[in-house]
Symmetry: C2
Subunit: 330 residues, 2 copies
Amino acid sequence: MREVAERAQVAMSSVSRVMSGHPDVSPVMKRRVLEAVEALGYRPDLLAQGLRGGATRSVGFVISDISNPLLAQVVKGAENRLREEGYSILLSNSEGEPLLDAENVRVFTQRRVDGLIVSLASETEPATLSALDDVEGPCVLLDRDVPEMTNASVVLADHQTGMREAIGYLLSLGHRNIGLIAGPVLRPNRARIDGARAAFGQRGLSEGLEIVSGAFSAEHGERACDDLLSRPEPPTAIMAGGNQIFTGVLRSLLRRGLRIPEDISLLTCDDIELTTLMRPPIGAVSRDSVEAGRVAADLLLRRLRSPESPPETVTLKTWFAARESCAPPR
Amino acid sequence: MREVAERAQVAMSSVSRVMSGHPDVSPVMKRRVLEAVEALGYRPDLLAQGLRGGATRSVGFVISDISNPLLAQVVKGAENRLREEGYSILLSNSEGEPLLDAENVRVFTQRRVDGLIVSLASETEPATLSALDDVEGPCVLLDRDVPEMTNASVVLADHQTGMREAIGYLLSLGHRNIGLIAGPVLRPNRARIDGARAAFGQRGLSEGLEIVSGAFSAEHGERACDDLLSRPEPPTAIMAGGNQIFTGVLRSLLRRGLRIPEDISLLTCDDIELTTLMRPPIGAVSRDSVEAGRVAADLLLRRLRSPESPPETVTLKTWFAARESCAPPR
DNA sequence: TTGTAGGCGTTATCAT
DNA sequence: ATGATAACGCCTACAA
């Protein structure tokens, strides 16, 4: 910047004014400065701007697992919106470790991000909550219930509705023994379980729903499925609570040579490409993850622009797509 | 930091020395400072450290498409290594737009990243090359040939070998009319085409390989597959040049009700989960993407630590996994 | 061993 | 309309 000022024969403050579009600049000086900027290829240092101005135009994205295609889509949606607005994204991957969540939030705070979008590995880890408490700017939570965080915006998915429809569909086909292989104890899982129970409740049924919760992994899916199928009264339909779990469930079913839907009906949450490419196509509870990212970015941007505006909660819909993976029980 | 200094009754420089592990600090002062740091929850401002010290401990990751699961895995591998070393990742998504590549590189430069890992949307876009030229620190290219960038490290995949094996396998089954539905004109695609031709060449064949290049998208895969199959002499085997393309190819085949492998043999590059979950499982050219990310991070870190060390090129292997999606032609 | 002071690249304030 | 200057938070010579 000093070089630009020298070349243009003006003070550094004038260069600054030209660069930041200050109104009080004479056309002649503006021209001189821009010429020098062009000639020297000058671009202002965002680090120094951040230090001086207090805003870094960057947001931190704390994510539990970037290799999960659904979360990758959320990142895509958010990145797109934020970049349009001149923000950069700092990304960290917590790999499902609650303590990494906390550490990553702390690092982002040290880097003075203007805001945070967070997909937590745990809703209760005290280290994470206190780290989030120290954050200056606005914060958006992705699909988590953290009552302590009264000052955060939240983007939720209405898992319950989609799940209720899905399980209701199985019940209407005549299934009375349904296995739900669910993920870790986080909001999406809880909401799905609620939805499944609601479907049973609507029909006055109180028995017949077997729930096996566990990690959000293929291993859990496979083991839990094996477990369910080796019981004295194995379920006639299985619902996988997420894409990684689905993979494991499918492995288990394939290994046992079970035919879908003749021998067993199968559904899954999180509609990924795989579901429509399989034969038969697999029924799924679906939602728009890219949209979730966009909405998260929008909520953040609003509060970034007017810090006084209150935190908001947006709930995105889910829906059940019936496909040929279900049939009446044998 | 000033507050810490006051509370501990020492000068700010002493706080700085304690925080950065300077050797010449008396134990008593160290204790006092740490106590104050603890009490106030002080954590140094990385922005100011970066401005002052010239290193931000951040690296930029310019990626062509984060929603591609393979690239998400690369990010995962790199993020893990870099975080271990105290680096943060700035992520941007170019969505296949060469000009966004350039702009994203420029922004990262303005943010003073210490280094760059780049998966380019184009190998020749002048705007991108000149933006990369202006980068101060080391740079790692992911699976691209950019001869102009003599000062960058490169992580390559040996697509050619895997492809040669795959096409060789089809030839050995008796196929003499093979369709290769390839992606955009970038290194991976070129290497795959070279590999396919090499397989033909090894057997003294000069005819029978139909190549349709296009975008790296399901739409292209589907259209190209339709095109190939409606020719007077349709191929008896099809190789999809990447996961997105594969999706489209599969849709085309399913829509036509073709059975795999009875009616047509099918292979794909980029071994994703889908391939082993389908029935029949789909043969694929496979590689380790997480490892690619780790290696990229390692190459970057080495040059970050010793800026004088020369750029390196690492080639990771690919291999062909034969599965039941192939049979002799009818 | 510890304190003082200058500067990293900006911009807002004040004076001209 | 433009220029000089202080300050953002930190680190490192240099001085004590």
